[in-house]
């Protein structure tokens, strides 16, 4: 393409308003949809894990039916978490340098360590200790490929004496206790990647990691609710309403915290009104109006807050069917709202110039490395993996009593 033609095309782009630094004038944000998907996925991991820890660490027995589902959800999403990052890199073949020669002052260099720690030391270990006795039992009862898989997962340890099973439970609890700060670390660090960028007033904010953690908890819990309801629906068994009520109570309080923190962030920005406030206000009411004010603030936060708040107050008077429907709808709304929040942070932060004098543009891309197709596929992949996990580890065939406590189904108890 000739220089003049390229230049004319760029000049003709109507979306660029005001003055942007010439290097910012590209219509494709540097960090595009994959980087929106990345914090969304890690957030779901952290949130689902917190949901599971409520059972192990805080002994919320009523949530027992979703304990394993929550852990498996966390694992399915964690396995996919690095993919958007990898696909986004200019040189994916050099990705291991982040772990092999990390530059320790970079928050992004911590990714490898945080990820490896969370996957290896927390999630996989906790799941293994939780499932170990079951694996031993299933490896003896199951034949074929399934049997081989279970035999492999026993890692050669077949001891299911009472003492060993007790040790498993104790180890599971210890790992869960370690896991909570680890989940905070996993997602707090993602927030820190954005929060530490002082060049960008939309990102550089001390509250950012905390907002990320709470939105992660909210989204992960909402995902657990939705997955539990979908699984029950698929198996034609009624979801335990007490469990759902309890999940939604926790979700409501987490959402209150999340909304309060985000509100505080805006209040602080508006009140302290530094040099960036004009452009950020224009951003919120202009290019981000739909995704920030409509989807994130109204549909994703206010509506669920009101609905869940009413549920908290007058739950007993509301029929179970309505409750279920409200729970499912609010979960989907919250999940959409948090996705919009990630969009607003990642894309929103690149829609204005660091000269604070103009707006850049976002051009919808379908195919390609930064396109919606790939990101959509990356977002779908964890659900497929979760489906496989459910077939293998929550299957009615091997674990018929999934509605009751896992201990009841365990052969050793």
């Amino acid at each position: 393409m000739s220089l003049e033609l390229t230049n004319n095309i760029i000049e003709a782009l109507p979306q660029i308003e005001g003055y942007v630094y010439p290097n910012e004038g590209n219509v494709h944000p540097l960090w595009s949809v994959p980087i929106v998907v990345y914090p969304y996925i890690t957030g779901l991991v952290a949130g689902a894990f917190i949901m599971a820890s409520l059972v192990r660490v805080f002994n919320v027995k009523v949530l027992e039916p979703v304990y394993r589902l929550a852990l498996l959800t966390a694992l399915a999403f964690l396995l996919c978490a690095p993919l958007p990052l990898l696909f986004h890199l200019g040189h994916p073949e050099r990705c291991f340098e982040v772990m092999m020669t990390p530059h320790l002052s970079s928050p992004m260099a911590m990714f490898g360590f945080v990820y490896a720690w969370y996957l290896m030391a927390v999630l996989l270990l906790e799941l293994w200790f939780d499932y170990r006795a079951d694996f031993v039992h299933w490896s003896q009862t199951e034949r074929g490929l399934r049997g081989v898989v279970y035999r492999l997962f026993t890692l050669g340890v077949h001891d299911v004496s009472e003492k060993a099973v007790q040790l498993d439970a104790r180890m599971g609890k210890i790992i869960s206790v370690v896991g909570i700060p680890s989940a905070f670390l996993l997602h707090g660090y993602v927030g820190f990647i954005f929060g530490s960028i002082k060049a960008n007033p939309w990102w550089g904010n001390v509250l950012m990691p905390i907002i990320f953690i709470f939105s992660a908890i909210v989204s992960g819990m909402a995902l657990c609710v939705a997955m539990y309801m979908v699984l029950s629906w698929a198996r034609r068994v009624p979801a335990d309403i007490r469990c759902l009520d309890s999940m939604k109570t926790f979700l409501f309080y987490a959402l209150v915290m999340d909304a309060a923190l985000e509100g505080l962030d805006w209040l602080h920005r508006l009140y302290s009104a530094d040099e960036s406030i004009q452009i950020l206000k224009s951003l919120a009411f202009g290019k981000l109006f739909n995704s920030l004010l409509i989807v994130q603030a109204c549909l994703g936060t206010l509506v669920p807050l009101v609905v869940l708040g009413i549920m908290q107050l007058v739950r007993r008077e509301i029929p179970v069917v309505i409750r279920r429907r409200c729970y499912f709808t609010t979960s989907v709304l919250i999940l959409t709202g948090v996705l919009a929040m990630r969009w607003n942070v990642v894309i929103g932060g690149q829609l204005f110039s660091k000269s604070l004098r103009g707006f850049t543009a976002y051009k919808f891309d379908f195919a390609g490395q930064e396109g919606w197709l790939l990101s959509g596929a990356l977002l779908l992949l964890p659900f497929i993996i979760l489906g496989v996990f459910v077939k293998l580890f929550l299957s009615e065939k091997v674990w018929p009593a999934h509605g009751s406590s896992p201990a009841a189904a365990s052969p050793a108890s």
């Binding site: 290097n23 960090w31 982040v98 060993a164």
Partner: protein, 273 residues
């Protein structure tokens, strides 16, 4: 599976593997740090970076906005032809007169940099504004601000971008993973992702030239001597950079961010960010 393989054994082996992985990482990091210290990107053999401290200063009042520097930089450093990327560029500031009776010191401020201010390519010119509407107008050349606390080097996850002892901030394009974090972290918009190499790129102060005793390309071609370049460790008698700091009051861009830019501007206006 043997009965002797207990959970203890499995855990011990897992622990061993983890310890191995961690020590391997540490060893690799140490090796990379040593390599970085010895690397002399684009510099000739025998060049000792510890004996120099390069700096560029800008005299805003001497810039005539001709764009020669932008063009020279593009040619010298093979900056991608696509006109949206620049290692250096010229911004035009037009402070318009306030409306009559508005009670203000200045009116609207127009800032633009069509094609980075590179006018000689036969491309679009700065848009004309009637002279009588203009209160004041000036041009500001922009380049890497050579920050002492460079946020771009700080955030690079692999250390591909680094501060040299002689005052430049460079990118090792054979090592950069192309994550774009440094581009986000630069408050001055000086970095971009090279669409060809898919790595981050920026002004190097023409490191291949200055280490051979030449001036950076932009300084070489500047007809108004708006760009003043020198070696602070080897100040010559009547050195332009010495004279600049003796005669002009200068300030950096966005000092509140604490990046401590070493590039200083004389004659800066409050509108420049």
């Amino acid at each position: 599976m043997s009965e002797g393989l207990s959970r203890r054994h499995v855990l011990r082996r897992l622990g061993g593997a983890l310890a191995g992985a961690v020590s391997l990482t540490a060893a690799r990091a140490a090796k990379a740090a040593v390599q970085k210290g010895l690397a002399s990107a684009d510099a000739p053999k025998g060049y000792d970076p510890s004996q120099h401290k390069w700096l560029m200063a800008i005299d805003v009042e001497r810039c005539i906005g001709c764009g020669s520097c932008v063009e020279a930089c593009k040619a010298e450093n093979h900056v991608p032809d696509s006109p949206v990327y620049f290692r250096t560029w010229i911004e035009r500031y037009l402070v318009l007169k306030p409306k009559l009776g508005a009670g203000e010191t200045r009116g609207e401020v127009i800032v633009d940099s069509p094609n980075g201010g590179m006018r000689k390519g036969g491309l679009k010119d700065f848009k004309p504004v009637p002279k009588e509407e203009i209160l004041r107008g000036f041009y500001v050349p922009k380049l890497c601000n050579l920050c002492e606390q460079s946020p771009c080097s700080q955030v690079c996850p692999v250390g591909a971008t680094f501060d040299t002892p002689d005052g430049a901030v460079l990118v090792d394009s054979k090592y950069c993973i192309g994550c774009g974090f440094c581009i986000q972290a630069c408050p001055y918009g000086c970095r971009f992702m090279n669409p060809v190499t898919r790595t981050a790129e920026k002004c190097t102060l023409c490191y291949h030239r200055i280490t051979r005793g030449l001036k950076p390309a932009c300084v070489e071609v500047c007809p108004g001597e708006a760009r003043i370049f020198g070696d602070l460790k080897n100040i010559a008698p009547d050195d332009p950079i010495q004279r600049f700091f003796e005669t002009r009051k200068a300030q950096p861009l966005k000092p509140h961010l604490g990046t401590k830019p070493r590039v200083q501007y004389a004659g800066l206006d409050m509108e420049v960010r």
